[in-house]
């Protein structure tokens, strides 16, 4: 069985912005993330759901696809947390505390060394190198299952530029931010290398499903 590198539930604005320039402890995305993530929060499968209920329609299919047949995640250090430069604060163990949504090995890309650690059933490794090398490492750890590319936007661009992404789900929300870190100017930029289904959801988000030609 082919092992895929998959992007899931990556949220951008209608002008392609996925993160603001000013990520901080109080603002993990550096912008009002509820304007991008609202469609996830209504679904039955949302990991943050504290009450029973939620929708089980189209958006829920995408929400729950996050963990299907995933054996490892790769993320950029800006997804892991707001620190930059050398890791001076080892008390900071990611946004998720001990109860992460990953449940697999996670490879955090960084130029600065840091020892691996475990948080619940997730092990965080800190790795430096080319995307292809880090992907090879994650695939070995995934033990036959697929690898999820978790973001942020800079990391996804890096793997797209290296032509390593097999499938990508991007949810485009009906909001414009104007400035910030962009995934694209238009999804059409990727049509030369990917097939694309564009699927409007009743929630107002437009799901974009890419798969390699």
């Amino acid at each position: 069985m082919e092992q895929l590198l998959r992007v899931h539930n990556f949220c951008v604005s209608s002008d392609g912005v996925a993160a603001g320039p000013d990520q901080s402890m109080d603002s993990p995305f550096g912008l009002d993330q509820s304007k991008l993530m609202f469609w996830v929060m209504g679904t039955a499968s949302w990991v943050g759901r504290s009450e029973v209920g939620g929708t089980r329609g189209l958006d829920d299919y995408f929400t729950r696809e996050f963990s299907r047949n995933i054996g490892a995640e790769i993320m950029g250090r800006n997804k892991f947390g707001p620190q930059r430069g050398p890791w001076t604060d080892h008390e900071w163990r990611g946004w998720w505390g001990e109860d992460t949504p990953f449940h697999t090995p996670v490879y955090v890309m960084t130029h600065h060394e840091r020892p691996s650690f475990e948080a619940g059933d997730t092990t965080f490794h800190f790795v430096d190198g080319e995307p292809a090398d880090i992907l090879a490492q994650a695939k070995r750890a995934a033990d036959g299952r697929d690898v999820r590319l978790g973001g942020g936007v800079t990391t996804i661009r890096e793997f797209l530029d290296a032509d390593l992404v097999d499938t990508m789900h991007v949810a485009v929300s009906p909001v414009r931010f104007g400035s910030g870190l962009r995934l694209w100017d238009s999804p059409d930029e990727l049509r030369d290398r990917f097939d694309l289904d564009v699927v409007p959801s009743p929630s107002g988000v437009v799901h974009h499903l890419f798969w390699r030609k």
Copy 2:
């Protein structure tokens, strides 16, 4: 975790027909099933796929959802095969031979006794009773996972009438058969009890996603 009864990838024509009146060894659906199933056959996850490739867009999400977190299936005897009345031919072990797509216990509804048997990693049980009792039996066997209601159309109607279905995915194909066994005159008949997302796919099929209110 709540155990759901789920219908997946149930295919009907634009006039609601899911099966013809004349099921036979040569025609499992009693009609030209390629006109209903074409959208499945193009996908990467189709169990019948013999070559690599296939689409990984919207239709593929539905195709692969078939087995996610399923611990048992319930089907009517008309899905199992074309025999009617007492089971005189025990050589007939279902359309699938030893290589079934189920990989779980399967409960075949019938008024006629027949011993259970194993085909690969699937065990077929032949059970008589009310839908609620058969569902209770399947849920016990599913060991915490969900139960899939496999069809055919008569069986799905029976479980809908007993208000036992939690989620239902019906793919409506752009073909009219005029006569045959109908799931509905219109999907709107179910809106009093279910929320519904109607999602057109680029392939031409229209996915209908119901979940209980």
